[in-house]
């Protein structure tokens, strides 16, 4: 396959970026999208140009590091995959492909296609945990049976890999799906009940502070989420938030 690539290049946080055009030839349709970019970079290094910086790590769709906006879609045209799982067979020979970083004020570009997602970490730090010390002296694991339905609902929420595709794809740059996934995981489990109210209030507050937009129920996040996390969890979070707001003593 021969392709024309329009790639976002930006030197650092401060300087303005823009699209550059590169050509790659002879790409196998079995190559992954990131392997195609490896080949492009190898070519740039040979030519003495600085290679394009992009984020990746596990390359098997679980670490959540890779984050490319391809032809106007988070993680590209395939569904239920991360960028690293996207393969070139999804594209046509001779195609022009636009490659951009996640776009959100709360996730600023660091360089080229790499963005700063530390806002996600700060949201988790504001309440995404159960306050239990790691003493090993907790009760026996089976002393707390959990109905399978709740366990499954919690699990499906916990499948979030924190990639940020939901934010990138949302016209409001909302992080509701991400925050809802964590809030819901604990809301469905008995271990999460003790701190449930404060958790949802804190996490939502931090989310707003980071500059993420609100949710207008377009459902775009659910479509692009590589782990198919449902927007029903946003409803769950809203319910948790409302009930916490009404009954909170603070």
């Amino acid at each position: 396959m021969d392709l024309t690539l329009k790639v976002w290049r930006q030197k650092n946080r401060e300087e303005k970026g823009g699209l550059e055009t590169y050509k790659v030839t002879g790409i196998s349709e079995h190559a992954s999208f990131l392997e195609m970019l490896d080949i492009m970079n190898e070519q740039l290094i040979k030519e003495g140009t600085e290679p394009v910086a992009f984020d990746y790590d596990c390359r098997e769709g679980i670490c959540g590091t890779c984050s490319l906006y391809i032809n106007g879609e988070a993680h590209g045209p395939d569904r239920k995959v991360t960028t690293c799982q996207l393969h070139m067979r999804m594209f046509k020979d001779g195609e022009t492909i636009y490659i951009e970083p996640w776009r959100s004020a709360a996730m600023p570009v660091i360089k080229d296609l790499i963005v700063d997602r530390s806002s996600f970490d700060r949201i988790q730090q504001s309440g995404g945990f159960v306050s239990v010390n790691t003493s090993g002296n907790t009760q026996d694991a089976n002393a707390l049976p959990i109905p399978k339905m709740n366990a499954d609902l919690a699990f499906d929420a916990a499948a979030c890999i924190g990639c940020g595709a939901c934010v990138a794809t949302c016209k409001n740059s909302s992080a509701m799906l991400f925050v809802a996934a964590k809030v819901s995981q604990f809301a469905y489990l008995p271990q999460g009940q003790v701190e449930a109210k404060q958790r949802v209030l804190n996490m939502v507050e931090q989310m707003d502070k980071e500059g993420f937009g609100n949710c207008t129920n377009t459902g775009a996040c659910e479509v692009e989420c590589p782990k198919s996390i449902s927007i029903k969890y946003i409803a769950k979070m809203n319910r948790e938030f409302l009930s916490a707001s009404c009954s909170s003593e603070s």
Partner: protein, 671 residues
């Protein structure tokens, strides 16, 4: 050669850990506030250690090269985590888990460490459930278990195919709680590039801020390395692209012995390479072998026709297929341990029977299982004379419920439907059992420098059992290191703050800076990946699944040559004072180029076959076991810990003799 002191406590095996814990010096809470600890790496071991140490009251600085601690490669573990809970009432116990782990490690691990691991395994599950880790449950709401890796009990806890992710997010949440409290300072996108020693003790690190390129000095009373394994020395592995041995190798060069580097696990069920562009390999859980049958065509003509695309594997009848594992190992069949399954696949492909275009793939076929489950389901549903399509549909449903996510993953990568056409698999480097030598307290041979998780060597011997890597990482981080480190730190309460202005810090920073300058100034003609791929090829060819003296000597010479070429011809574009991926990679590959040579040297000296290390010179010569691995307990029942002496070829070996008082040593047999 000296003898290493592993500091194993006295007394009966089952009481060692309890007695030792009771005697460990404690640090008073007021003093803990004045003690700093650096933890490098945020996987299961590093993340859990940082969180636990901070909870205890120490000041922790935690470092990871990723953009968030949640992304460490522990996250990719699929299968599960072992624990001797005996919830299934199938006779499991701490002793059995201990025994299976030592036996699975082919009697090359340290008995006392493994027993401790088995002892704390149950606590891990309790702890994780308390944190809200969503393990798989049954309809009664209790935890479910699966059997794993050829053991006779069901002791593996799991969270679908994402056990590693859920456990890591548990550790990450514990870490977040401490970050929020200000007890842990988190340094994302930072890489440790040097260990700083003052008066022989580990006192800090030099870290490079990967976004700005700035070198930073960080001091502490103890340094904990939890940087994972070194599988990427092979270039292609199931590790993350960024997984590296730099932190472990830097402490090795500062005096920490490196133990058993040749023990590597090659996992049999990975998705084969599709061509030269391949950047990494993807593993699929070995639970697939519970229902899949492995085969290649009997006739070489059929192999060639399949490669050309003129024949489909489904066209071949049963008698035209060679189910080579079932043929060679009738007792265990497709469920032989990982090392044996991997070697058998390589042998059959080397003989020309590989079924894809690269000649490196065998079939893993689910059609028998689909039939079997389909008929079973039809009977349960009381269907009279079910049609073939009914059976297929029902059978595929069962397979989907068991392995759905793996089948989907395979289909996305290979673009073939594994329900209809057999999967193709090939072995890939997966886990490294060797690593930094540590004593019973997990301290390396550098005072005050600890090493935990996959980065150390102690628990898995020559081969690791399935679902025990997660167990070891969390055991070290949650329940072992936080206690054992007290012995050392109780003597540090009078030390006071350690200044980063000390001459040793200045010198270490200059050393790093000069090294970076040297790399940038080579201005050669080849990319970093070029050299990494050459290294990987040499490793796979001569230090891969089977090894012999001639090949290993050749590997040592070749790796040395690649290293020399690297230092004269590597090309690193960009500058050092900004985010520069090529520079990051160059530093890591420079270390792999040294580690690889030591790896081959270790494999060369160990003239026996044990676990993941197979020497062609050491095989059974006759009888039922003819051609199978032959361990040599008389001459090699020891840990080889290598001391750095400049060139990797000059490393000096120190032995730790392994004593087995509670277990009888046996040769493995799967025939």
């Amino acid at each position: 050669m000296s003898v290493l002191d592993s500091k194993i406590p006295d007394g009966p095996l089952k009481d060692k850990w309890t007695n030792h814990k009771n005697k460990i010096d404690l640090v008073n809470p007021a003093n803990k506030r004045n003690i700093d600890i650096i933890v490098v790496g945020t996987g299961l071991a590093g993340g859990s250690a940082a969180a636990s140490l901070a909870e205890m009251g120490y000041n922790v600085k935690s470092f990871c090269y990723q953009d968030s601690p949640r992304r460490a490669h522990s996250i990719a573990a699929q299968g599960g985590i072992n624990a001797a809970k005996n919830y299934q009432n199938d006779g499991d116990s701490v002793y059995r888990l201990f025994y299976d782990t030592v036996k699975g490690g082919d009697y090359r691990s340290r008995e006392a460490n493994v027993h401790r691991l088995a002892e704390v395994s149950g606590n891990i599950i309790d702890q994780c459930v308390a944190q809200g880790v969503p393990f798989g449950r049954d309809y009664g709401g209790l935890l479910d278990n699966r059997s794993f890796g050829g053991v006779l009990v069901s002791r593996t806890f799991y969270a679908k195919g994402q056990t590693g992710q859920q456990l890591l997010l548990g550790a990450y949440s514990a870490l977040n709680r401490q970050i929020a409290k200000g007890k842990v300072t988190m340094y994302n996108r930072h890489e440790m590039v040097e260990l700083v020693k003052v008066n022989g003790k580990a006192r800090g690190i030099i870290a490079r801020n990967l976004e700005t390129g700035e070198l930073e000095r960080h001091s502490a009373h103890a340094v904990v390395i939890a940087s994972g394994g070194y599988g990427n020395v092979f270039f292609l592995s199931t590790n993350a692209m960024g997984s590296n041995a730099t932190a472990a190798w830097k402490i090795h060069k500062k005096g920490a012995h490196f133990a058993n580097p040749c023990y590597t696990q090659i996992h049999p069920t990975c998705i084969p390479r599709s061509g030269e562009h391949q950047s990494k390999l993807t593993l699929m859980s070995e639970s697939l072998r519970n229902d899949g049958r492995i085969w290649v065509p009997k006739n070489i003509d059929d192999v060639l026709a399949i490669r050309e695309g003129t024949l489909s594997p489904t066209d071949l009848s049963e008698d035209q297929r060679d189910y080579y594992l079932e043929r060679r190992y009738p007792a265990f069949g497709n469920l032989v341990p990982r090392d044996i399954a991997s070697r058998a696949a390589k042998e059959i492909c080397d003989a020309g029977y590989g079924v894809n275009s690269t000649g490196e793939a065998v079939y893993l076929d689910f059609s028998s299982a689909i039939q079997r489950y389909g008929k079973q389901e039809a009977a349960i549903a009381r269907l009279q004379n079910p049609s073939e399509s009914d059976i297929l549909k029902l059978g595929e449903g069962v397979i989907e419920s068991k392995y759905g996510n793996l089948f989907q993953m395979y289909e996305k990568i290979v673009a073939e439907d594994p329900y209809k056409k057999p999967m193709m698999i090939y072995p890939a480097v997966h886990y490294t059992m060797g690593g930094v030598w540590v004593d019973y307290n997990l301290m390396t041979s550098v005072e005050g420098c600890y090493c935990i998780g996959e980065a150390n060597f102690s628990d898995h011997g020559a081969n690791r059992l399935g679902a025990s890597a997660l167990m070891q990482g969390l055991a070290d981080g949650y329940f072992v290191l936080p206690y054992t480190i007290g012995n050392y730190l109780s003597n540090e309460i009078r030390t006071g703050k350690i200044s980063t202005e000390a001459a040793e810090f200045v010198a270490a920073e200059k050393e790093v800076s000069d090294r970076i300058e040297k790399l940038m100034n080579i201005k050669g003609t080849k990319s970093v990946d070029h050299f990494h791929k050459l290294l990987g090829k040499a490793m796979w060819e001569y230090v891969g699944m089977t090894r012999n003296e001639k090949g290993l000597k050749k590997a040592m010479a070749e790796i040395k040559k690649i290293r020399t070429d690297f230092w004269s011809d590597v090309k690193i574009p960009g500058d050092r004072n900004s985010l520069n991926r090529e520079l990051e990679k160059a530093g890591r590959v420079a270390d792999f180029l040294e580690l690889g040579e030591l790896f081959a040297k270790d494999a060369l000296h160990r003239n026996e076959s044990c676990g993941g290390h197979f020497r062609e010179e050491s095989v059974e010569l006759d009888g039922l076991q003819k051609g199978e691995a032959k361990r040599n307990d008389t001459d090699y029942a020891y840990v080889a810990a290598w001391e750095y002496k400049g060139e990797p070829a000059d490393a000096v070996m120190h032995k730790e003799e392994l004593e087995f008082n509670d277990i009888e040593l046996k040769q493995r047999s799967y025939k």
